[in-house]
Symmetry: C2
Subunit: 527 residues, 2 copies
């Protein structure tokens, strides 16, 4: 059994400001130890330790930094059994899903270890001196990316591992050379604690300062505001609700020195079923939709909360298949009683809107907090006229919008809010409208899919898990995949340095063996 303390720079610290316990959402019962909440001065110990550690960690070699990331992955895997068992109790998520998430979390850490070893993120650019240039000589100028400083990370309830304590934000910040203060998620405190211990073991076996990582427990909004205001914190990574994300963003913008907030907030991830798709295997399409809406009880950032389907016979037949699939679906435990309640309220709010009709619903699950998967339906005219129909209902819910013409479909797409994803289901004859939709979606989303379903976010180099506001607070980046490291870096130019004073990545001797952009072209590539 774990004990409920924070870990500040490797030390167990019992909080003095009350405590919480985990709740099993399948039963509604509290269980396990109390997790004590830190006072504001205790939280400050963590940010101070992160600032001190940053002073050395930012200069770590690729070997040291990548070894740390690999070691964290190994420590998590070594403790996988207990982590999964605890997370199952705390989140209601099934074992297979959490087993996959341990693998994904470890793979993500190893991806960033490889990114650190590979080194392109250093962004080395060298414009050599041109002493004989007229009318004026050019000085030697070199550029690299440096880490921003200590990062405060806020994990998500719906991914207790991959978007939490040692998730993508933590991994990419550590890879960039930043230190991390992680605000433990009170919906899975024991899982966070186990992962925090795994990180701590990896750090204590390494050569880096223990202040590189702390996990702090506290009341969500208070500790969030404190971390966002702390002058030592240089950036924020967040995954969660729009309300909480915007609150952090607001606080960060009002600081004496504002800091960037990378908040991944909300999306309804439209799916566009084009007419040609209805000539294909519509049963598979209906089942795929069901799986994407209801997987993990619908609690995925990329779950499709909106699907456009043609009116007419073929559309009606497809809707009937969807209806039948959903009727057989049983509710699965949601992450917390609060999230289940929000789902019910959000669904009721959509159902109350003019022109919205019930379409299908499954059955209530056997546990607590396992509501029936639900589909409502409306016309595209209603949808376009009512902004409330575009609001996210987090959980197993989707709105089926029927359209008469592909022209009105393209217009409705142009009016959508920013989204994480947009998915086009197409068949013969759909290429022209698909092309038009892709062009609209390029302005609206972070990832466009042709076929398939948006849930299941691949962790790789080409992934974009982001998108224009309000999907995120910063559409120029991603919170999944190797590009995420750029969020925690900024460029610095070094002019007329001599070799001994240059940081290693910029030295002529290139001790880290980096790819370098010389006068605009990477060495070894054609101009």
């Amino acid at each position: 059994m774990t004990t409920g303390t924070s870990i500040i720079a490797g030390r167990e610290v019992a909080g003095t400001e009350g405590a919480t316990r985990a709740i099993n959402p399948a039963t509604g019962a509290a269980f396990g130890p109390e997790f004590s909440f830190l006072s504001s001065s205790q939280v400050e110990e963590a940010t101070k330790a992160a600032a001190t550690a940053f002073d050395t960690y930012r200069d770590t070699t690729p070997e040291s930094r990548s070894a740390l990331l690999d070691a964290i992955a190994a420590e998590i895997e070594a403790d996988a059994e207990e982590i999964i068992a605890t997370a199952m109790q705390e989140t209601g998520l099934p074992q297979a899903r959490l087993t996959g998430e341990v693998g994904r979390t470890a793979n993500q850490l190893r991806l960033f270890a490889n990114v650190v070893r590979q080194g392109d993120f250093n962004g080395v650019r060298i414009d050599p001196a041109l002493p004989d240039r007229t009318p004026a000589p050019r000085a030697d100028i070199r550029q690299r990316q440096v880490p921003l400083g200590p990062v405060a990370v806020f994990g998500a309830s719906n991914f207790p591992l991959a978007f939490s304590t040692a998730g993508g934000d933590t991994a990419s910040a550590l890879a960039a050379g930043c230190t991390v203060v992680f605000k433990a998620h009170n919906a899975h405190p024991g899982t966070g604690r186990l992962v925090g211990q795994a990180i701590t073991r990896a750090i204590s076996a390494s050569d880096v300062d223990p202040g590189v990582f702390s996990i702090v427990y506290g009341r969500g909004s208070e500790i969030g505001q404190q971390l966002a205001s702390d002058p030592r914190i240089a950036a924020i990574g967040f995954t969660g609700s729009r309300t909480a994300g915007l609150s952090l963003q607001d606080t960060a913008a009002k600081r004496r020195i504002p800091i960037p907030v990378y908040a991944e907030m909300s999306a309804i991830n439209p799916v566009f079923v084009l007419p040609g798709a209805l000539a294909g295997d519509t049963q598979a399409l209906a089942e795929g939709f069901l799986g994407s809406v209801t997987g993990s009880s619908g609690q995925l950032c990329t779950a499709p909360g909106l699907i456009f389907v043609p009116t007419g016979e073929a559309g009606d037949a497809f809707i009937e298949q969807v209806r039948k699939s959903f009727a057989e679906a049983a509710g699965q435990t949601m992450l917390t009683p609060g999230i289940a309640q929000s789902w019910a309220e959000g669904k009721a709010s959509v159902a109350r809107q003019q022109g919205v009709e019930p379409l299908a619903s499954g059955t209530v699950g056997e546990t607590e907090n396992a509501p029936e998967p639900t589909l409502l339906t409306t016309t595209i005219a209603n949808f376009s006229a009512n902004e409330e129909l575009g609001e996210e209902v987090f959980g197993a819910f989707s709105l089926v919008v029927r359209y008469d013409s592909t022209e009105e479909l393209v217009s409705a797409t142009a009016a959508l809010e920013g989204q994480l994803t947009g998915t086009i289901q197409l068949g013969e004859g759909d290429d022209e409208v698909a092309r038009a939709l892709v062009r609209e979606l390029e302005l609206k989303v972070g990832r466009i899919l042709i076929g398939g379903w948006p849930t299941g976010v691949e962790v790789g180099h080409a992934m974009v898990h982001g998108g224009p506001f309000p999907a995120t607070t910063n559409g120029a980046t991603t919170s999944v995949g190797s590009l995420a490291i750029d969020r925690f870096l900024r460029p610095v130019a070094y002019q007329s340095f001599f070799e001994e004073l240059l940081p290693a990545p910029l030295q002529d001797s290139n001790p880290w063996g980096l790819n370098r952009r010389i006068d605009g072209t990477i060495e070894g590539l054609k101009k």
Copy 2:
């Protein structure tokens, strides 16, 4: 003689809301035609045209886009004589400086034309499908950078060409595939008009939509607020005062959909004279300092407004050389009567602070608005205790801060605000403290120099003209050099696309011949 109209999508539009005339700061007299101010509905015509043009311009080929940038450069050069003559009258800047600035502006446009042709800014990443992967196959995922949309650009008074109508912000936005609404600077309306005409000629001879560029005249704050609020505007590029920059940032953050603001605002660009430097050619050092403080009448973003000099005999001797150099310096015309007045007020405000003494001053110039270059001095203890001593005085002014020990120098550096540059003058025995200063400056500035002077910003691939707040509103970027294009782009992922539906940069056939990152490594480079 030019007439004073705005140019909206290639059309001359006379404003209906009053007018302004240019003022020759050397005489204080108004001259030339009236430039009429647009109404808000007229300004909206420009943003509408920019939005319409974006719909096609974003898809232009590298050939088309780079040809446009090259053509703008050629049109400006073709009109250089009149542009320089007009700018001299409007800004008081000397012919040689403005001749250089025409060259720099044209080179900058050509740099971005080459960046477009070279194509790495497309950021192509491909993670090929892995159909046989277990436990789940991987879909084909491709990523590229897409342009944000229409950009509102606000130019600087102090660079009527290189940071203005066809300056770095305009060039990088057009290179990225964004369209531009340029707010004409009322301190050089005729220069702006001539450059706007050159751009318009280049566009009308090209194959792009004329809405790609508009230049709009209006009252600074009103038109600024309107452009920052316009829902069609997707990003802002700005160079100017902190007040104006923060006002745009504030408005942009409060929109229903917030947009990024890239504002380059203010800096005092500290210079650190280390003890060893005083064993070298201190006369050259004194003259270099004079040149960097007084060049362009001190009105350069990177002018050194702060210099740290050791106490003791060698420091005193250097200060005496500095004093003599400055005593011989005559004031040069400042850009506007208002800027000259702000300089006088700023200097007086610093002079009033406790422990600040006069050190040197030159003579008042022969024209109007040509105040005497001025140095004040204080101790590092006073400097560290009083934030007002760190405020920018835009113009030929610098504060000489005397320090006793290199330890207190490093501490004072750690307490500085964000800056564009930091410059270290060193000699034998200074390596250790230089290394410590470089590490502090990596947290504080965009560019670090060893020797030389910060003024004279090279336009290349490795340049960073940026830095942490309040030097800019976004320290993760630069407004000079090829990296500036990234400000106007965001990543989009394309999952499971077939070849015909992919945008050209991502097609298997690679029709643009781009460098591509496959599974994390750029093709042709070692892993």
